[in-house]
Symmetry: D2
Subunit: 285 residues, 4 copies
């Protein structure tokens, strides 16, 4: 693991000759040392997608000129791109309702330094998990939501995201549908769905999995979009079940999946390893 700060470029653009060379030359010409690079071409979509990480030590461009300088290269390529600096620590808000397993798991991993991030804010539509927030020294805001108050409360939520300077929202079993309005204005949002999507999208997936008699259940982490449970999938995992497992057992086994799948997705996002295009993701492993 490189101790010195790094820059990470995520870029997608129409495929053409010389893309790797152009980007690598930009870094090399400025004295950067590439430590990870991964490129993918989606021939069907005609897209080139890449992730490059290089050491900033010895890089001759001043920090505030890196993005403008790269922009000059990216523009003729018709590219979509982001550059992240590893010493700019992202700030996470976790949204919950009443279930604590994903929240606790995220906080424990944060404490164990699995996530390079700050978690200054937990929001909920219920009081219940306030004690956990307090124990970890994190602000806890309760915004109960009804059909009538939804618009007002979402405005509050957005205001909090701004006030706390939030870069990523993690829905850790937040059992509310988000409006298109909120999604348009919020930073990226990762959700955990308690099924192997697209199977059992919607409500009560474990009950439906039990009734269908499946032999394997799953969990899915995805970016939240306007179409419920239809956003780009980041990570999935599964576990075997048998006729001996009732709905309660499915829920219990599923919780273990939800925790680990959500944590992996958050970690991949924080490491800038995910590129979304269309409704798909490239996850640079």
């Amino acid at each position: 693991m490189a101790a010195s700060p790094t820059a990470t470029l995520l870029l997608s653009c129409p495929d053409q000759q010389g893309l790797v060379a152009k980007i690598a030359n930009f870094i090399y010409a400025n004295g950067g040392n590439i430590i990870h690079a991964d490129h993918h071409t989606d021939f069907g979509a005609g897209l080139f997608l890449t992730r490059l990480e290089w050491q900033l030590e010895g890089f001759q461009l001043p920090r505030d000129l890196i993005r403008p300088a790269f922009g000059a290269i990216a523009q003729p390529l018709d590219a979509q791109w982001q550059i992240h600096f590893s010493d700019t620590v992202p700030r996470i808000a976790i949204w919950v309702t009443k279930q604590d397993h994903c929240l606790l798991d995220l906080l424990w991993r944060h404490q164990a330094k699995e996530f390079i991030a700050e978690i200054p804010l937990i929001m909920s539509n219920h009081e219940r998990l306030g004690a956990i927030a307090q124990q970890f020294g994190i602000d806890y805001h309760v915004l109960p939501i009804t059909a009538e108050t939804k618009a007002v409360q979402e405005a509050q939520q957005l205001a909090l995201l701004q006030r706390y300077n939030i870069d990523l929202v993690v829905l850790a079993k937040y059992m509310q549908v988000l409006t298109a309005d909120l999604l348009a204005q919020a930073p990226p949002i990762i959700n955990i769905h308690h099924s192997f999507l697209p199977a059992f999208a919607g409500a009560k997936p474990y009950h439906r999995a039990y009734n269908r008699g499946v032999k394997i259940i799953g969990a899915t982490a995805h970016y939240a979009t306007q179409d419920l449970d239809e956003g780009p999938i980041i990570e999935q995992d599964v576990v075997r079940v048998s006729h001996r497992d009732g709905v309660r057992d499915l829920i219990r086994k599923g919780k273990d999946l939800e925790r680990v799948v959500l944590a992996r997705a958050v970690r991949l996002h924080l490491q800038n390893r995910i590129l979304v295009y269309g409704n798909r993701t490239v996850v640079f492993g």
Copy 2:
């Protein structure tokens, strides 16, 4: 593995006291030695489900009296039950269309003695796989099917099942929907579906899995019922895919799943380890 022949009872009935004792006593009183027994209670359904296997050597009931004698015990229990003798070798018909991977796999396993069964018949709606049948010395019947000929051809299919004395039909990538009529008259039918049901039921599951951007694909073996892809699930398995996998890769990886999932399901059926109730299965492992 017991070398001497065994009898296997599969039974389900409304739960009540003394069921294990009653059944075990029937076997013990007649000098049978139970070598496997597994019971399950589905409290929600109020059902007791069991599988018992005992050695026939030393069993004092003549073979042709075992079923009638047990019937007298089962009737007051309002039970559904079957008794199978391990030396009565079941006969399988395999139905295929054009893909050979599941067919070849089943035939190899049969040759390797993984299945205690005979395979006297392969049916197809295409000529293509006839050479394989010939190579393994198995009769191959071609019954092309169109909307107009379906009724006539299904009658032919049923006639062949009768003529060949078939106990189990295995749909090894047979790409035709079966009518309710045929299903009502045929022996049990196991189908392999190339997705992790209920995700991607219906046509072209790998294309749809690719488009949805899932990170895991699966295959499902189930008993065929009138509701396409809705029958009781016997076995499922999955494999990871990534953004580097195109549709062709999904198909290739999926084939490996289809082979092994179908083979496991056939083996479980042949060992009389599966009890169907409602739309669910108990698989006695």
Copy 3:
């Protein structure tokens, strides 16, 4: 799930005719309703192994006569057996050193009611995890161990197990070898080893797995015995790694395995689903 209290019998004995009937009759004759029963015959070892669970409501034998009455049946069978009552809640001691992930996981699961047990005691050879014990309201005893003090401290440990009435010890990353003496006097002890045993038994398994270049790592929960890392295996699980994973990544991924594998093993033990014979386990699923 049955709400009323149940009794669970775990029994192994030399195989002979009529075992299922004899045991089932004992329960039926006394008015018990069997809700789970699973039998296994190990033909190589000539052993019959069984687990039966029945409802105590309506069972006509007084609680304190059940074991003596069954003993009369078991003795001529030369059986080893235990009977557990579901309303006698087992008491767990957790032993730790400095790592908190397994400890926290066990305590959360206990809080979430995944374990029917009490956890009155945490022991460690270090101070570090005392704050966690305090937060969960559990007594924390520190017994530092050196080569010189080992004998004295183990005597202390045994005394504490007695004083707290402990039924099960869970080594949640307790990095000390236990002596034969302690093992002989302690209740059952479950250990988690951070490798896919028997691969990488002993120290620093993740470093050795990295150096060997394996593509999959694992974790193993087993009963502790005198032969380090050689005890009967209860549960194992694995996860894929790649060349991109350094030793730290292996450790991080391994922690997730250790947590879940240890938790499953503890749960199986608490549900009296494990029978040890020789150096093997039967796990009644």
Copy 4:
């Protein structure tokens, strides 16, 4: 999938600045279009490892000058490298003893066009599998091996590899130890070991796995080296087993693993996705 021929570079060298740029420029300057590129830095070993694939259509260097031209770039980098052209089809020899499952699986996949390769030669120390070779129209050479004849027969084996122009040897359950001499002169050799290495290296792994009471078994494909079962691991996979599985069941389940793990390893090798360094592999996914 690109239809036009491609070149693939596999390279490893001491890490330094500008490596990606230098290599990408070589391709770009000659009019090549990179379709896949993946780089990895092993910081511990101080090594840069890369795989690049580019389209040869439009590439301005004549085919026979590509290697010399790249050599001029590689030499100052102190690099180890290979360049493969996708239209130069590699030739495989399969070595077997008596078991047919891996052989049949490889031949079926070859027929199904999963491998871009030719398989002109099967060698064995037994007659048994000759009929399969004949059925697939492949030459079959029998070279029985005893302690006395080993040296002579290995010379024969090497002569056959030369005569058939073999690029890759696949040991598909070839139950003979290879000498250092043969290994030094033969092309790359892939072996399948029927255990999750390093567990149960050596003989009779399934019997030993059964005796140890493991809950998961595995298979490992690796390059053959002088140290038996110690070569660089390419691929591993696992499957769950239970107390109900006897040694025969382990063998049966293991066969399914062996087939698929060996096939994946062969495919990865044929796609030039594997870089060996030290005793480890980088597998560019």
